[in-house]
């Protein structure tokens, strides 16, 4: 398989003006050149993605995920390093390149605010030069999948955040891009829509052999979709490998969340397993993956419980564990 995305020793710096402390500083700044601090957003990162791969891109806020995506989609100019997407230099923004890619940023707004949604779709149809047949097909598919058929003639400004997010997605996918950059695509969606969207991304990847780079703080997105994960922190890649490995390696435990109906002593619970947090009636336990079922059964027997939930360790917790290990 050929490489869809190549990133080699990529660096990007931003200049941030140091916060103005007082009015007099602000006045001085009018006459004097302001001292700007150089912030290294990306420090010589390298990776390649094969065409048809779905890769999860994770890291804390400000790690450089979005910056990387912006460089890959041609919005930002890198300070140094080599970038190629489908053999194009993204920054040159050639029409052929832009027709092959799509970017969905969680808070982006490409829809025409004051017009019915359908106008924005038709606009994209023309701009991307999509033929009638493909347009009809894509639109129907996307609209029924996300369940928004009755909203097509609504003014964009009157849509809720979740509805608008779905429309953004439709607008981004009408031209059937070969490379997709999804930055928090499920942000603001309800659970059904999240699941639908994941199924759709999965199908889309299979059907069109599309390459997908995805950032998300939603563990389910990553579990369902990504076989490979790149973890980035402080502008550097600290993990790049199969998703299984990161879960096996770092998410060795699951959380059991319990609501108790009768108060018990903490020592009693600790006989069974490790207590993470206890604040009656809420109890959170951390349990090794292999023994989850067993521990849960035991808890239900010994304690009077109104509610019990078994949850994956949040991705942030896993990342935090990794970061601790690195430092």
């Amino acid at each position: 398989m050929d490489k869809a995305i190549i990133v080699d020793h990529l660096s990007k710096d931003f200049f941030v003006s140091e916060g103005k402390k007082s009015i007099s500083d602000a006045i001085i700044n009018l006459f004097k050149k302001e001292n700007k601090k150089r912030v290294k957003a990306l420090k010589e990162i390298s990776f390649t993605i094969q065409s048809g791969e779905i890769v999860g891109f994770i890291g804390p806020n400000g790690a450089g995920k979005t910056t990387t995506m912006k460089i890959l989609s041609g919005l930002l100019y890198p300070n140094s390093g080599f970038v190629s997407v489908l053999d194009y230099d993204p920054f040159l923004k050639s029409k052929e390149f832009l027709k092959e890619i799509s970017v969905v940023f969680g808070q982006k707004n490409q829809l025409w605010w004051d017009l019915p949604v359908i106008n924005s779709f038709e606009f994209n149809k023309a701009i991307y030069e999509i033929n009638d047949k493909d347009y009809e097909k894509s639109l129907n598919e996307l609209v029924s999948l996300l369940g928004v058929s009755e909203l097509l003639n609504t003014q964009v400004r009157k849509l809720s955040l979740g509805q608008r997010m779905k429309m953004e997605l439709i607008a981004s996918l009408l031209h059937r891009p070969k490379v997709l950059f999804l930055d928090e695509p499920t942000l603001g969606l309800d659970l059904t829509a999240q699941q639908n969207l994941r199924d759709f991304i999965y199908e889309y990847n299979k059907k069109y052999n599309a390459t997908i780079l995805l950032t998300s703080h939603n563990m389910n997105d990553l579990v369902d979709l990504c076989r490979r994960v790149i973890i980035i922190d402080g502008g550097q890649i600290i993990f790049d490998g199969p998703f299984d490995e990161i879960v096996k390696k770092y998410a060795t435990e699951k959380n059991i969340k319990i609501t108790l109906s009768e108060e018990v002593k903490i020592s009693e619970i600790e006989e069974i397993t490790k207590v993470k947090k206890y604040n009656y009636p809420n109890l959170t336990l951390s349990v090794p993956r292999s023994t989850v079922a067993y521990v849960a059964a035991e808890l239900l027997q010994k304690l009077s419980i109104t509610d019990l939930n078994i949850e994956e360790t949040p991705i942030e917790d896993i990342i935090r564990t990794i970061f601790k290990g690195e430092k």
């Binding site: 930002l76 025409w112 023309a126």
Partner: protein, 266 residues
């Protein structure tokens, strides 16, 4: 071709969605014109002719000013500085269409609507002020006039885009830069406040080497037609040279701007 038609369509729909904004824009235009007209009328109360202008030729100047403003100066380019500082520009950069072409085409509906409205305003003003209007019927002069308007629109587009490029480097400077360049230089030196021939000849000759008179003054003079073919050709040549220079400059500045663009907020 579909591409461009759909930009025209969305442009029209958007203009119509912002009806009040459009009407306020027109109102501002009318007030500017009235200020111009009454200022000159008060001068003519004490004398019959100033700098070769009489009350009726100033009336004609005023009417042409309305037409030229609505064609040349009706534009959405002013939104660009906001796009740059808010990061909204990213939406356009990701689309497979040239941003300059997009902006220019999107201005066509704006200009057409403004021309339509200015026609109504002109009729009303005509009834109220009853000026002496010179109707140009010479085909050659009209051809030059149309050419001069196209040149004027393009020069104005380039200057406005240049002043809207400031936020690439100074995100908060958008409005100030525009005000300085457009309100001071363009309005003052283009002939939108007073005809350029009120200046002494040396200053006039110097100004004619800058791009500003080609935005308002030259098109009006071309319409009024008191120029030789040679003068016309010379004006068009200088105007075209400025189109060329300004566009090259704009492309260069824009390219540099995109390199430092941070696409914030998205």
């Amino acid at each position: 071709m579909d591409k461009y038609i759909s930009i025209l369509k969305i442009g029209f729909q958007q203009e119509l969605a912002y009806k009040l904004q459009f009407i306020i824009g027109r109102l501002r235009n009318i007030i500017q014109i009235l200020v111009f007209f009454f200022l000159w009328s008060s001068i003519f109360q004490t004398q019959d002719s100033v700098f070769g202008y009489t009350i009726s030729s100033i009336g004609a100047y005023t009417f042409l000013l309305i037409i030229i403003r609505s064609i040349v100066m009706s534009t959405k380019v002013n939104d660009v500085s906001g796009f740059v500082s808010s990061g909204e520009l990213s939406n356009y950069l990701l689309k497979p269409i040239n941003f300059f072409k997009y902006i220019i085409i999107k201005d066509i509906p704006v200009k057409l609507l403004n021309i339509g409205f200015s026609a109504v305003e002109l009729t009303l003003l005509f009834i109220i002020l009853k000026p002496n209007i010179y109707i140009q019927s010479d085909a050659t002069q009209l051809l030059f006039f149309i050419l001069s308007i196209i040149i004027a629109s393009f020069i104005f587009f380039c200057i406005l885009m240049l002043s809207n490029s400031f936020p690439f480097w100074v995100p908060e400077a958008g409005w100030g830069a525009q005000f300085l360049i457009v309100a001071i230089f363009v309005e003052f030196l283009s002939g939108a406040f007073f005809p350029i021939d009120v200046f002494p000849t040396t200053i006039q000759n110097f100004l004619k080497l800058t791009p500003f008179p080609y935005i308002v003054f030259i098109p009006i003079k071309t319409y009024l037609g008191n120029m030789t073919i040679y003068n016309n050709l010379q004006n068009m040549a200088i105007g075209l040279i400025w189109c060329f220079i300004l566009f090259l400059l704009l492309k260069k500045i824009w390219w540099k701007g995109l390199k430092v663009y941070e696409g914030v907020g998205r």
